[in-house]
Symmetry: C2
Subunit: 331 residues, 2 copies
Amino acid sequence: MATIKDVAQLAGVSVGTVSRVLAKNETVKPRLQEKVEAAVRELRYKPNPVARALRTNRSDIIGLIVPDITNPFFAQLAKQVEMLAAGQGLSVMLANTHDDPAYEKQQIETLLDRSPLGILVVSASEDNAQQLATDIPIVALDRTFVSYPCVATDHEVSASLAALHLLEMGHLRIGYAAGPSETRVARARESGFVAGLTIGGKDLGVKPDLEILRGAFDFTAGEELGRIFLNRPVSQRPTAIATASDQQAIGIMRAARDLKIEVPHELTVVGFDDIPLAVLVTPRLSTIRQSISQMASSALDLLVQSKGIGEDIKYPGRLIVRGSSGPAPVF
Amino acid sequence: MATIKDVAQLAGVSVGTVSRVLAKNETVKPRLQEKVEAAVRELRYKPNPVARALRTNRSDIIGLIVPDITNPFFAQLAKQVEMLAAGQGLSVMLANTHDDPAYEKQQIETLLDRSPLGILVVSASEDNAQQLATDIPIVALDRTFVSYPCVATDHEVSASLAALHLLEMGHLRIGYAAGPSETRVARARESGFVAGLTIGGKDLGVKPDLEILRGAFDFTAGEELGRIFLNRPVSQRPTAIATASDQQAIGIMRAARDLKIEVPHELTVVGFDDIPLAVLVTPRLSTIRQSISQMASSALDLLVQSKGIGEDIKYPGRLIVRGSSGPAPVF
DNA sequence: GTGAAAGCGCTAACAC
DNA sequence: GTGTTAGCGCTTTCAC
């Protein structure tokens, strides 16, 4: 591999000059600049990122810490981050934390040792993580992390979209399958849904009935909640159920099928997340999709510009209407 | 951050000695060794990986190139690789190729510039990729890549497992939904299935009827193939269908439901891959699971030991029997 | 505006 | 056995 020295020699200039034209901005005479560029081309010279990193204490690597890359949401996030990063000549280092705060800390520290340009972390440690002693920019993604700027979905607003959707279709007996109230997201989605219902109801001059049940985010929990919601006389069961996750929603659809309740004619179901499975179930699931590419893009921007203590950024999700939602039945 | 110099000073030795105790194997007098170790602890010294990489031309980074991290199979692979790597103090750089050979080449070269310990690549360029000019070890994962050693599932053997399973349950009219014959895996799975049926049939002294239909790996193709297989008189339709992918299998189950054919009582379905969705459908899907952790582990070993031109390694998949397979119906 | 030279933190000869 | 030292390839003063 050719080094900067070879280039300097071939171009008949000093290494300093080569370095300057590589760094673009400096004031190098056009004549020399051309000679250097010619030499670079001829030798197919590419600066050694490792040497550069040693000298400048900063490499063109972005660290990405996620709980579990196997989770489709994080996988999508990772993909977007990697794509955007690659577009800027940056590489991505991936680390999983398995939702273990101690392991997360270790992973972050290992990464920090490599002097990355910055670190993006989807944190597992809800609150109790201590500030890192580093000047490497860190941005929290999806969930807050210590006091670093956080780029995330506005779960409140997003959930309220589902509420408005139900109201617009005339539903007045509504169920909400919430997530575990220990988690911040679950609480945010729940309160957003409630708020949306309240405000939307006022606007439309109606007063919807709301029943909230809580459970895990998963399929099984959804099925159980579904049975509770639906295993009662028609006049007492909700005509629409929104959930805190698509898995729950799919569980509820399963429960509905078992009880011979037809979706969407007798029951509307709206999920949250838009997981790949959402389009594979019948009917296809209406849901709220987070704006993953926007999040990735903003987070990366924050890092690259290393806007020290930036402000949190929140993006609303988008309502995706599919076959599982329809107008309220008239009994 | 403390440097090796600080440690040397505090321990009252030279940097060379410190470097030696850090490298473990050298012959350093126990007395000095202890002093150095004490100094390391006191200063919380951690060697700078960047400096080390510059000096040795090799870092403790593993490159991982996949077509698309969003694909659950690659995500699982990535997770395993990352976990195993982290256990050895190695970090993982992730890059997506979007199944584009040109982009893949670029991604590999970018990675190569960072002098990684080695690169794991799940290649998109089926055949036509040229050898890389580098002495950094490369191992192909899941699919062959140029002439580098390849760690993959033995698709033939794995598919034959499905065939034997069907025979053991007494099925004699069997359908196989193959993948697109342009892809190597599809061909391997198909021929493995056929071979399994032939050999197994001989062993059991039976001569099963086999009908093969081909289509894309996806859900929709499965549904179409399913309709062709199943939309005929009972006496002429297969009592069991194996597929080249779980998506196809799930499509077939959907087709069966539409035609009021009950799985597994009237029809056995066996997929391939064990995607997360496989346990969410009703009945749950019997399938062949690739041994992802074994693959990841072997591939990593090959890299770390940089067994130059090692041999290809193939692992058989494992049959996972679930609700979608049952004994052949007696008509 | 450009060249010379001093390191970034580390490893690996090479001396002793 | 241990210390000394010469770089790895680059950026960035500091002179001129």
